[in-house]
C-alpha cells in the first residue's frame, strides 16, 4: 500500500510537472497538455513498432518533437495572444483537441497501441512485488525534480526564468526577452510532458481518452497544490496519490477517479489559491 501510494504519487507528479512549469514561468496555461502527452506516447510507439527504431532513440526523438511543437505553438500562435488569457486558453485547448481527436480519427484505439516496458521483471520492496518500470519512474521523477531545482535556482537561465515569472516588464528592461523565455518554458513543459508519457505509458494502453484524463489530473494536482508552486505540485501529488490508493483499497476502486474532484472542490472552498499558491494575493498587489 505504502509503496503503491508512493509510485502513484510520483506518477501524478510527473504528469502535473510540465503543466505547472509552463504556467509558473510564462503564465500560459497549456491546455494541450493531454494532447502532447498522448502525442509523445504515440510517436514513440510509431518509431518503435512501425519504423523499427531502437527504443531509446525513438523515445528521445518523440520527446524532442513534442518539445519543438510546444515551442512552435508559442511562436506561431500564442505570441499574438499574449495577455489575452481567454484567447490563450481557447487556442491551447483547441490545439489539444485537434491533436487528440485527430489521433482518434486516425484510429488510435485498442491493445496494439502499447509501448513495451523498458526492462521486464519486478523486484520486492517491503514484501510487495513492484515492476521495474515503476521503479524507473520513481527514480526518473526524483532526478527530474533535482535537475529542475538546480536549473531554476543555480543557473543563469533559471534566474531569467524566475525574473520573467515575477515581473515581465522589469525583466524586459534588464535585457531578458520574455518571449524567448516563454517559448522555452513551453518547450520545457512539453518535453516534460512527453517524458512523462514515455515513462508512464508502458504501464498501460495508449488511448485518446487517456489524454483528457491526463489533462484533468494535471489540472487537479496543480489547482490543489497552487498553480505555480513546484512544491505544491509535489505535495498535492502525494495527497491525491495516497488518497486514491486508500480509496481503491478500502472503499471501492470505482471511486478512485472521483477523488481528485472531491479533493479539489474541498480545497477550493477553504483555500482558493491552493495549498501553496499565492496567486490570489499577488493579484491584490497594487
Amino acid at each position: 500500500m505504502l509503496v503503491y501510494g508512493f509510485i502513484n504519487s510520483v506518477i501524478l507528479m510527473m504528469i502535473a510537472l510540465g503543466f505547472s512549469i509552463t504556467f509558473g514561468i510564462s503564465r500560459v496555461a497549456n491546455f494541450s497538455h493531454g494532447g502532447f502527452y498522448i502525442l509523445g506516447g504515440i510517436l514513440t510507439w510509431y518509431g518503435l513498432i512501425k519504423l523499427g527504431l531502437p527504443y531509446f532513440l525513438s523515445a528521445g526523438l518523440s520527446i524532442i518533437i513534442v518539445g519543438i511543437i510546444g515551442a512552435v505553438m508559442y511562436r506561431v500562435v500564442l505570441v499574438r495572444l499574449r495577455g489575452l488569457e481567454l484567447s490563450e486558453v481557447i487556442a491551447t485547448f483547441s490545439l489539444g483537441i485537434v491533436i487528440l481527436e485527430l489521433l482518434r480519427g486516425l484510429g488510435v484505439f485498442g491493445y496494439e497501441f502499447r509501448n513495451p516496458v523498458f526492462i521486464d521483471g519486478s523486484v520486492e520492496i517491503f514484501g510487495v512485488g513492484v515492476g521495474i518500470q515503476r521503479i524507473i519512474i520513481v527514480c526518473a521523477g526524483a532526478v527530474l525534480l533535482l535537475i529542475l531545482h538546480v536549473f531554476v535556482h543555480h543557473t543563469k537561465m533559471g534566474l531569467a526564468f524566475r525574473g520573467v515569472a515575477q515581473q515581465e516588464h522589469t525583466a524586459l528592461s534588464v535585457g531578458i526577452n520574455p518571449d524567448q523565455v516563454s517559448m522555452l518554458s513551453l518547450a520545457m513543459g512539453s518535453i516534460m510532458c512527453a517524458l512523462a508519457a514515455v515513462l508512464i505509458l508502458p504501464l498501460g494502453v495508449i488511448s485518446v481518452d487517456e489524454g483528457y484524463d491526463i489533462l484533468i489530473k494535471a489540472l487537479a494536482v496543480c489547482i490543489i497544490g497552487g498553480l505555480e508552486s513546484t512544491l505544491g505540485v509535489l505535495v498535492a501529488a502525494f495527497i491525491i496519490g495516497y488518497i486514491e490508493v486508500l480509496t481503491s483499497m478500502y472503499i471501492s476502486s470505482s471511486l478512485t477517479s472521483v477523488i481528485p474532484l472531491a479533493c479539489m472542490l474541498v480545497i477550493l472552498l477553504i483555500r482558493p489559491s491552493g495549498i501553496f499558491g499565492k496567486s490570489k494575493e499577488i493579484e491584490e498587489r497594487v
Binding site: 499565492k278 494575493e281 491584490e284 497594487v286
Partner: protein, 246 residues
C-alpha cells in the same frame, strides 16, 4: 470610544512583512494622512481596513466593532468607502453608468432619500465632481476617458455610496496641479459635511495643507505620528524620505 481604531495590525506576504504591528486611530470628522516611501505598506494597510485583505493579526475597530476580515462588500455597506490607486473603471460602460453599479448597493437603498432615476442621480453626482453635464463627457465609454476623469470617477463612487469614512489611495498621483487644485476643495467640503477621511498620499505639500494628523510608515512600521507641523520637524521622517523637500 474612537471612531476608527487600528490595533497592532500585521500582514505578511510570504517572507515580506508588509504591515508590521501598526496602530493608530482616527477621530470622526478629521482627515488623517498616511505617508511613506514606496513599498512601505500604505496600500496594504488600506486593503486591511477595507476588507480586501485579511490581517494575520490585529484589530480594526470601526465604531467599536471589530471589522477585520469581513468581506469587502460588507465593510463598504457599513460605511467605509475607498478608491484604488490603480484606476480601473468598468471599461465597457459609459462613465455615468459606472455610478449606477454602486447605486444598487444595499447601503444606498438603506440610506434612502433618493428620488428619481439612477441615471439622473449618477449624472448629478458626476456634475458635482467636475464632469460637465452638458458636454458629451459623462456619456463617453469609460475606456476612452483621460486619467484625470477616471480618478474623479473613483471619487464619485464613494460619494454615490454616501460613505461616512472614505479612504483615498493616492488620489492625486498622476494629476496635474490644476486638477489637484480643483479636487482639494471637494475634499475639504467632504470634511465639512461631517465625513471622516484617510488619505494615502505622495503629494505632501497638498496633503499637509488639509490634513489634521499624519501617520508615517516605513518598511511596514509606523515611524511617526502627529500633526503635519510636528511631522515636518521629525528627523526620522526626513531620513525615510531622503530627498523629498518638506
Amino acid at each position: 470610544m474612537e471612531y476608527l481604531k487600528i490595533e497592532n495590525l500585521r500582514k505578511t506576504f510570504g517572507g515580506v512583512v508588509a504591515v508590521d504591528n501598526v496602530s493608530f486611530d482616527v477621530e470622526q470628522g478629521t482627515l488623517l494622512g498616511i505617508i511613506g516611501p514606496n513599498g512601505s505598506g500604505k496600500t496594504t494597510t488600506v486593503n486591511l481596513i477595507t476588507g480586501f485583505l485579511k490581517p494575520d493579526s490585529g484589530k480594526v475597530l470601526f465604531k467599536g466593532r471589530d471589522i477585520a476580515g469581513l468581506r469587502a462588500s460588507k465593510i463598504t455597506n457599513l460605511g467605509i468607502g475607498r478608491t484604488f490607486q490603480m484606476v480601473k473603471p468598468f471599461y465597457r460602460l459609459p462613465a455615468f453608468k459606472n455610478l449606477v453599479v454602486p447605486l444598487f448597493s444595499p447601503r444606498v437603498k438603506r440610506m434612502g432619500g433618493h428620488y428619481g432615476e439612477k441615471d439622473t442621480l449618477a449624472l448629478d453626482i458626476l456634475e458635482d465632481i467636475g464632469f460637465e453635464r452638458d458636454s458629451a463627457v459623462p456619456y463617453k465609454p469609460a475606456s476612452i476617458l483621460p486619467h484625470g476623469y477616471l480618478k474623479r470617477l473613483e471619487m464619485a463612487r464613494v460619494i454615490a455610496l454616501q460613505s461616512e469614512l472614505i479612504v483615498f489611495d493616492e488620489l492625486y498621483s498622476g494629476l496635474t496641479l490644476a486638477e489637484v487644485a480643483s479636487i482639494s476643495p471637494m475634499i475639504e467640503k467632504l470634511i465639512e459635511t461631517g465625513k471622516t477621511i484617510i488619505m494615502v498620499e505622495h503629494r505632501l505639500k497638498e496633503l499637509f495643507k488639509i490634513a489634521h494628523k499624519i501617520v508615517v510608515l516605513d518598511q511596514g512600521k509606523k515611524i511617526a505620528e502627529g500633526s503635519p507641523r510636528e511631522i515636518m520637524k521629525q528627523p526620522s521622517v526626513k531620513k525615510a524620505y531622503l530627498g523629498v523637500e518638506l
